[in-house]
Point group: C2
Chain length 341, copies 2
DNA sequence: ACCTGCGACTCAAAGGTTTTCATCGAGGAG
DNA sequence: CTCCTCGATGAAAACCTTTGAGTCGCAGGT
């Protein structure tokens, strides 16, 4: 059996060494039931001895499966990317996909150019499916992706009709209720809200939770709410605006930790003590932020790791063509108490 | 010409429509010179009409090229990942690789398990090359990767012998000199340093720059330096330690913006005014941090985007088998003045 | 008139795997 | 003892592209 040193072993080599045919060896690798115990063992031994690794390209060619999944972030404002939230999602995705042994192909979509490229790529059959993070209103990418014959799982609710879409969302509204109720239970009377950008449904859901916990209608809510755009600077400004609008405020529910960090700075500058004068609750429970503000931030935890895990699991089911019972999943949120409220 | 609607067109289809053979069509796609203008046009028209996209798997099978590159982050402390620096690198990688039309396969390795997996994957021929971020001393992953017959470009200097390795580094030492000289030029007399973890060469280089700018030897440096571990909290603590050790300090060069943010907090708590009492210079020029500290942070800019671009360009050359003249590249750093110094 | 050289092109093999279909052998039913 | 059934296995087709070898026609040299 002469084999060049530098050529990787093929299934043929494995089969030869195990004394079976390529077909049988293949069956062993794919855990087909129709194979005798002896053959199974022989093949496994050969695989081990040769350090055999299936050739992905060859396999992909015949199965019409690439073994790769795209993870797509559509975010018009590339700056937003510095939000540690994204790092966390990416990390979770990398881990979850590696666990099921599929390649993660990361795609960042900012411009229309990027959209076109993503379209080409996803339509080109280079991946078996996609995980899509596209929270913004009227995101072109969503309509593009919808038309593709490609299994897709969304993170949160994309804007527009949700018919036939698969998604894993956090219970934003429930979390907001939790936060607001907590502030109420502290005896706070004048509770205000720094919302996220209202072109994202997660921000809207959080706002709705806030409203329903306080029994506010749209008009009432408008008086005690400011949009902070999910950025630190936005949180800073929104808080300042609220202080001007509602001087007597004694509590604020901020729709993200990053904004809450900004809001805390504003409060401090305004001479307000937290939590004595103003109680603050954030959203995300981003440890690297929440634990390092002063005072440490009480926040609503949404478990991004869990969300991504669910998304991956769901997509794998789709890929295995299992009939999935629930197309939409909602993950619970919990309140994590620290010192700010 | 009956073609099922749902099957994607193959090169065969293109060739047929163009009235040429598969081989000629292939040559057109691969920009081979030996093809007549008429054939070229006919094939291009057919490609367009059919919306043809080459089958990556089939191509990979015959060319033994995958069209994918791994981007590997080796970081024992997964928490560190929340550092926006990583997000920036990942974003830059995604963009640069997309620009040259290669898939980016992201791999995060934290544990020995991850290392084994990475080893298997990289050895398995699933990618054509790799970009490796592994800054820590004695990182097992580096030795693993070194042994692989795989083109690799490193970010910064990995620990150990650099023989035959390709890397793109920032001028950490030069940047540190810049920072320290700047503090000197401000008339500061008692300049101290918060360093990064000394198991990373970037941290050591920055420390060396600091030392050489002040003409300090090891012993002298030890008296005015503290390790802040490249974390915000570490920066906080290191600053406190320095205040205790060198009460008369009037300037500090901090080896990362994240640590500088922590240091600023400590200074504030200690009642020091920045920059009046203590001038502060950071490193990284991380806008989302540097522009939002109070006061905004003067910092040494290292252009990560540029670094990653160079890494990608270098790797592509390696893949094209061009003989590369310089194996190591050093990118300049510049000082960005804001208000803290 | 014949060969040579050359450019444009076609043929067909190769690349490594999965999967269908056929084959083979053993064991049970009659 | 023969026929069937059924489980394990093997042969070969199929997946789609690249590429080296070979064909063909034509211009130019002898």
């Amino acid at each position: 059996m002469l084999v060049s040193i530098h050529t990787r072993p093929t299934l043929e080599d494995v089969a030869a060494r195990a004394g079976v045919s390529r077909a049988t060896a293949s069956r062993v690798l794919n855990a087909s039931p129709r194979v005798s115990p002896e053959a199974l063992e022989a093949v496994n031994a050969a695989v081990l001895a040769l350090g055999y690794q299936p050739n992905r390209a060859a396999r992909a060619l015949v199965t019409r499966r690439t073994g790769a999944v795209a993870v797509v972030f559509s975010e018009p404002e590339p700056k937003i990317f510095d939000d540690p939230h994204f790092a966390r999602l990416i990390r979770a995705g990398a881990r979850a996909l590696a666990d099921v042994d599929v390649q993660m192909v990361l795609m960042l979509v900012h411009s229309p150019d990027d959209q076109a490229r993503a379209h080409r790529f996803l339509a080109g059959g280079h991946v078996d499916g996609a995980l899509v993070f596209a929270p913004h209103r009227n995101d072109e990418l969503v309509s593009i992706v919808k038309k593709l014959p490609l299994p897709v799982v969304y993170a949160g609710k994309p804007w527009g009709s949700l018919r036939g879409m698969h998604l894993v969302d956090n219970d934003n509204e429930g979390g907001a209720v939790l936060a607001t109720e907590h502030l109420k239970s502290l005896g706070r009377k004048k509770i205000v809200h720094v919302s996220g950008p209202l072109d994202e449904l997660s921000a809207i859901d959080r706002l709705n939770g806030f409203k329903s916990a306080l029994g506010l209608d749209d008009k009432g809510a408008a008086k005690v709410t400011e949009d902070g755009g999910f950025t630190r600077e936005g949180g800073r400004k929104a808080m300042a605006a609220l202080l001007a609008k509602v001087p007597s405020l004694d509590a604020v529910f901020v729709a993200s930790d990053l904004m809450a960090a900004g809001a805390l700075e504003t409060l401090q500058e305004a001479g307000k003590r937290v939590p004595q004068d103003v109680a603050v609750v954030g959203f995300d429970d981003h440890v690297t932020i929440a634990e390092h503000t002063s005072p440490p931030l009480t926040s609503v935890r949404q478990d991004s790791d869990e969300q991504v895990k669910h998304m991956v699991a769901h997509l794998m089911k789709l890929l295995r063509d299992e009939t999935v019972k629930t197309k939409k999943q909602m993950l619970p949120t919990v309140l994590v108490r620290r010192e700010s409220a």
